[in-house]
Structure formats: C-alpha cells, structure tokens
C-alpha cells in the first residue's frame, strides 16, 4: 500500500466526522495557536525595544537619582531625588572612561503657543545630549555652547510637539511660552519614535544654563553620557565615584546595593536584560506548548482508541483483503498525525489572525510595533504537533494492527 493511499484514507476518516475531529484537535489548536501568538508578540516587542536601544547606541549611559531610577519620578516617592548634585556632574566630567556628560533638569510650568497648550516635558540639557541620543535637527538648528554660555531663551522642539503647537506652519522664530517665560524656537528634531514607552518626538529642549536659572536647582534630574571604551568599565567608574562622594559603603558583590542613592544603566545592560527576559519568555512558551500538546495528545490517543474499537470490523475486513500489520499500523498512525497536523495548521492560522488584530491595536500606542512572526517557533510548533500525533497515535495503531483478522471480522 502506498503512503498516498493511506493519507487519502486518513483524510476521509478525519473529514468524515468533522465535529468530532475538530473537538479532538482543539487541544492542539489552542497549543499551537498560543505558541504562534506569544512568539509573534514577543518578537514584535523585542523589535520595539531593540529599536529603542539601537536608537540610543549601545554605549549610551543613563544616570538617575534614587536607587530605583526613573521608576520613581515624583519627589515625594523618591527621597533621594536631589542626590546627584551639579558638583557630582562636574566630577563625572573628569572621568576618562566617559564623555558627553549631559546633565538634565526637567522644567515644570504651563507650556504653549498662543491658544495652544501642551503638557510636553521640558528638558533643560547641554548640547552633548543630542550626541548621546543620536538625534539631529530636521529644521533650523540644535542649541550650542554659545546658547549655554549666554543662557539664551531658545527652544528645540520634537516633531510631534511642533505639529501640536504649530500644525503645518514652520515654528522657526516663533516665541513659545514656558512658565511665563518666552522662548524662541530655533529648531525641530528629526523623528526618532518611542523609547521605553515614552514618545521621544514629544519634547522641548532648552539650554541647561537657562533651565538652571529658571528652576533654581543645584541637582540634576537625570544625566546622560557615553562610554569612551568598555561600557561596563564606565558604569563601574561612575558607581565608584558616586559612592565615594556620597559616602556609601560599596557592596561586597554585585553591581547594585540597597545603600545606593542613584541608578546607572547602559544600553548594553538593557540589551542583556532583554536577553534574559526573552529567554524566560521562551521557557514559558515552551512550557505552555508542552502542556497543551500533552493534553491534546491524550485527547488524540483517546479518540484513536475509540476509532479502533468502532472500526474493528473494518480492520478485520482490510486484513482479510490482504492488508498487512504494517498497512493497518500506518493507516491509524497517519490518521493521528493528520489530525494533529491539521490541528496545528488551524492553530497556526488562528495565532496569526489574533496576532494581526493585536498588531492593529498596538500600532495605536507604539509607533514602532511591527507585524513580526517567529518562523522557527512556527515550524517547531507544527513539528511538535505532528510528533504528538506520532507519539500518542502509536499505541492505538499498534492495537489495531495486532487484531486477528478473524476475531476482528466477528466483532459485533
């Protein structure tokens, strides 16, 4: 008997009882669907985050006050909000392992142009900030050392902010208001998208000296810098310097300590964390897949045992007509594999459709969210589904093959 004939028989048996086949396949459908969906979402998220990190550049380093860094922005939640003083910043500038040290002061206050108001964050920082963020001017110019030295009231807008305030008109030379103070717009940034769920195209940048004067602050809300050589060395140097200046006992092991009143992170570290996250995500998905395929496989085995009993006379007949053990074994085995493969394919389509819906929704919140699929995971899920059919189909198929033709024919 040829494989093609066996597959035809199996397809006929599977399609002959559609409702039962579908219910039998449900476990496999859900398992494969979940794997395809989760790996696709994971892939999309990873590309979003990786996009952000690569936009930053792997050598970019960020420093925040408070041991939990940016997660605790409000002063009330972060008792160490003023821990990084401007003297600390001056000391950091002397480190040889980092360059482009750019302190940041966030300026609060009503912001707008004429009738148009915005709650965009106002960032007071030095020109090195642009180098660390790897961003250029799309229109006009970025602010420079001269603006810093003279403490000029000038502003550079993110492209989204520019559009919010000025629609399609050019904002260059216009005077916007930030906390009762007028600033002249000198440039608009090129779009860079979101970084860590913050829309980086929505910001207003003013010279650090100007922000310093306005906010009357002797500490920085954040500092960005860039490693000159090895990023890990640079992070170590920053930690060593700040602990010494803040009289913090350095930890015996590890990087961070509860005593720290600051947090330093490099893009490279973020990448490593992402790697860990994606490894545990993979482990989690593998677990889900395994559980659902085992559950699905038991369903397959159960229904195949029922099929063998139901079709005992058919098996007897086939044997009487000359079918060998191998022919019967293959027939039932292939039927089980056809069931699981079909279930796998339906699950695959289901997962992809759900993913398409999720992509549609996520696009509204994350510009860079793209439709991504993990081909390796898809093929692995399909192969595992087929393997489930093989493993759980072998017992019923053997039972069928071992029936004696005469007894099978007599079966009522």
């Amino acid at each position: 008997m040829q494989i093609r004939d066996t597959v035809t028989i199996a397809l006929k048996a599977v399609t002959g009882n559609r409702a039962r086949s579908l219910l039998t396949m449900l476990g496999i459908i859900i398992g494969v669907g979940a794997v395809v969906l989760m790996t696709s979402v994971g892939e999309s998220m990873q590309s979003v985050i990786l996009g952000q990190i690569s936009a930053l550049g792997p050598k970019t380093i960020a420093l925040w006050p408070g041991k939990n860094g940016p997660e605790q922005g409000a002063a009330t939640l972060n008792p160490d909000f003023d821990s990084i003083t401007l003297n600390d910043v001056d000391a950091l500038k002397k480190l040889s392992t980092i360059t482009n040290v750019a302190p940041i002061i966030f300026v609060e206050g009503k912001t707008g142009y004429g009738e148009e108001q915005t709650d965009t964050r106002v960032v007071g920082t030095t020109p090195e900030y642009y180098l660390n963020q790897i961003v250029n001017a799309a229109e006009g110019r970025l602010h420079d050392e001269q603006d810093e030295l003279q403490g000029r009231y000038v502003a550079v807008l993110g492209p989204d902010t520019a559009r919010d305030l000025f629609f399609n008109a050019s904002p260059l030379g216009k005077r916007i208001e930030i906390g009762n103070q007028k600033y002249t717009v000198i440039g608009v940034l090129e779009p860079v998208g979101s970084q860590f769920f913050q829309n980086m195209d929505e910001r207003i940048i003013i010279p650090f000296e100007t922000a310093h004067t306005i906010a009357q602050r002797s500490y920085a809300n954040m500092v960005t810098a860039m490693a000159t050589g090895d990023t890990a060395d640079a992070v170590d140097d920053i930690q060593f310097l700040l602990r010494r200046r803040h009289k913090i006992i350095p930890p015996a092991t590890g990087i961070a300590t509860d005593n720290d009143d600051f947090l330093v992170r490099s893009a490279e570290q973020a990448q490593e964390i992402l790697g860990t996250v994606s490894t545990s995500l993979t482990a989690f998905i593998t677990m889900i897949a395994t559980i659902s395929l085992v559950v699905g496989g038991i369903g397959i085995m159960n229904i195949m045992l029922v099929a063998v009993t139901e079709r005992t006379r058919e098996i007897g007949l086939r044997k009487a007509l000359g079918a060998r053990r191998k022919d019967i074994l293959l027939q039932f085995l292939i039927e089980a594999v056809v069931l699981t493969m079909l279930g796998g394919l339906i699950g695959l389509l289901l997962g992809l459709s759900l993913n398409a819906i999720i992509v549609g929704i996520a696009r509204k919140f994350l510009d860079r969210y793209i439709f991504a699929i993990n081909f390796v995971a898809m093929i692995a899920a399909l192969l595992m589904a087929a393997g489930t059919g093989l493993v759980f189909g072998i017992y019923p198929a053997r039972k069928a093959a071992e029936l004696s033709p005469m007894e099978a024919l007599r079966y009522e």
Binding site: M1, D5, G16, R313, E314, L317, R318, K319, A320, L321, G322, A323, R324, R325, K326, D327, S404, P405, M406, L409
Partner: protein
C-alpha cells in the same frame, strides 16, 4: 518417466483445530483430510456450530490450524509469518461474507478497489479499470458511484462479489452469501457464483441451507467437526435415481 500429476489447489492432512480459553480446550475440527482441485465448485455444508466456518477460515488463511498440514498450491503453509499469510490473502484468495462487510459511506467503486490497495504496484488508473470490469461482471455498472449504504442487500452482496473478483484470485470463499438476502436476491447471487464457476473460478461455499448447497457440484458435509460425507454431483444423481426407483 511418468508425467507428474499437478498438485491439488487445496490439500489438508490430519488437520485439527481447537480454541483455547484460559487453558480450557474446545476442539472444533477433527482430523480433516480434504482435497480440492482448481476450478471446483464446492459447498461445505453443516448445521451451525459444526465447524464449517472455522474450516473456511483456515482454508482462507484467516486462521491457522492447531495441528496437521495444509498445503496450498502444493506448498506447505505451516510456519508462514503473518505478513506472508496476508500476501496469500491479497493475491490468491478472496471472501464474500454473509453480512457483506462493505465500507459504509464509501462508493461502490472505492469498495471494489479496496483489495487492490494492498496489491503492490497497481496504479490508480489500472485499479479503476479493474474495478469497473468486476462491477460490470456483477451487473452494477450504473451504480458504480453510489454509496454502499444506498444499495439494497442483494446489490450490496453483488458489490462484495465484485470486490472478491477484482484481484483475480485462485479461490473465492463465500460464507453464507445468501444468509441475509431475500430468496430472489439470493437466487441472483447464486447464479452469479455459478457463472463465475463456469468461467473457471474455484468457489468454496459455506452454507447450512441445502437449497443453496445444491448449486455446487460437490458437497462436503460437516458434523461436530468431522467430515461425514463428500458427495459429487454424479453420486448424488445416482443416489436420487436409486431413491426414485425404490
């Protein structure tokens, strides 16, 4: 040198069969010695429980004897593996059952093609051609695409005969082929078997009905596992004439 006589198609010597149920032996056939030649039309007749079906199962390679010898086409069949027996079933024998045993919800042509699936090297087009020829032989050409359950009992049994013919086997075993049929359909089925015999097929019929057995040229009677009579048409005719004379 003497010319060697061709080996009989079927030859059994001191054949015994018992069934075992947890070490309890139930003997069914005792010391069966039979010789059936190619081209014969034989009826194995006996009441139910006499062992006639068991004998047919053994002769048709669906079962194996407990003791004794069975030679098929001059070849010993002892110590044949299960797969070898399957090959003999596929190439040399075929069956017509009392309950038809057609695949349900399957077309006539697919039912008739079924044995050819287990014949190695028959191409799909060739299978179809052979199946149509067999269907034509039982007069069901216009029903070829019908599903098996759309046919009457008599038609279903004719499909079963077509299925038995399609592999061009040496022997056709018919186990109570008219048992589930009304008398008209039963007569039609027996006529087909008779004409197949006239075309040269060997037919071994198992039945408990005398009228059905009468179609055969030779009747082997079985009672309680023993062969009690083996009548040829010739001796039967003489016997009935003697009876008339008395």
């Amino acid at each position: 040198m003497t010319k060697k006589e061709p080996a009989p198609l079927i030859e059994t010597k001191n054949l015994f069969k018992s069934y075992f149920n947890e070490a309890v032996e139930t003997p069914v056939l005792f010391d069966i010695n039979l010789r059936i030649d190619a081209g014969e039309f034989v009826a194995i007749m006996g009441p139910s429980g006499s062992g006639k079906s068991t004998l047919m199962h053994i002769l048709g390679f669906l079962d194996v004897p407990t003791k004794g010898h069975y030679h098929f086409k001059g070849e010993s069949t002892e110590e044949k593996t299960e797969d070898e027996l399957a090959r003999i079933r596929s190439s040399s024998v075929s069956f017509v059952f009392q309950s038809f045993n057609l695949l349900p919800r399957t077309s006539v042509i697919d039912n008739v093609t079924l044995p050819l699936l287990y014949h190695s090297g028959t191409k799909p087009a060739e299978r179809r051609e052979k199946a149509m020829k067999a269907i034509k032989a039982v007069g069901l050409t216009d029903r070829a695409t019908y599903l098996s359950n759309q046919l009457s009992g008599g038609q279903q049994q004719r499909v079963a005969i077509a299925r038995a013919l399609v592999t061009e086997p040496g022997v056709i075993f018919a186990d109570e082929p008219t048992g589930n049929l009304d008398s008209a359909s039963g007569k039609h089925v027996m006529e087909i078997l008779q004409s197949l015999h006239e075309e040269g097929h060997t037919i071994i019929l198992v039945t408990h009905e005398k009228t059905t057995a009468e179609h055969a040229a030779r009747i082997i009677r079985i009672m309680d596992g023993h062969v009690v009579a083996d009548d040829r048409t010739f001796t039967r005719r003489i016997a009935s004439q003697v009876k008339e004379l008395k």
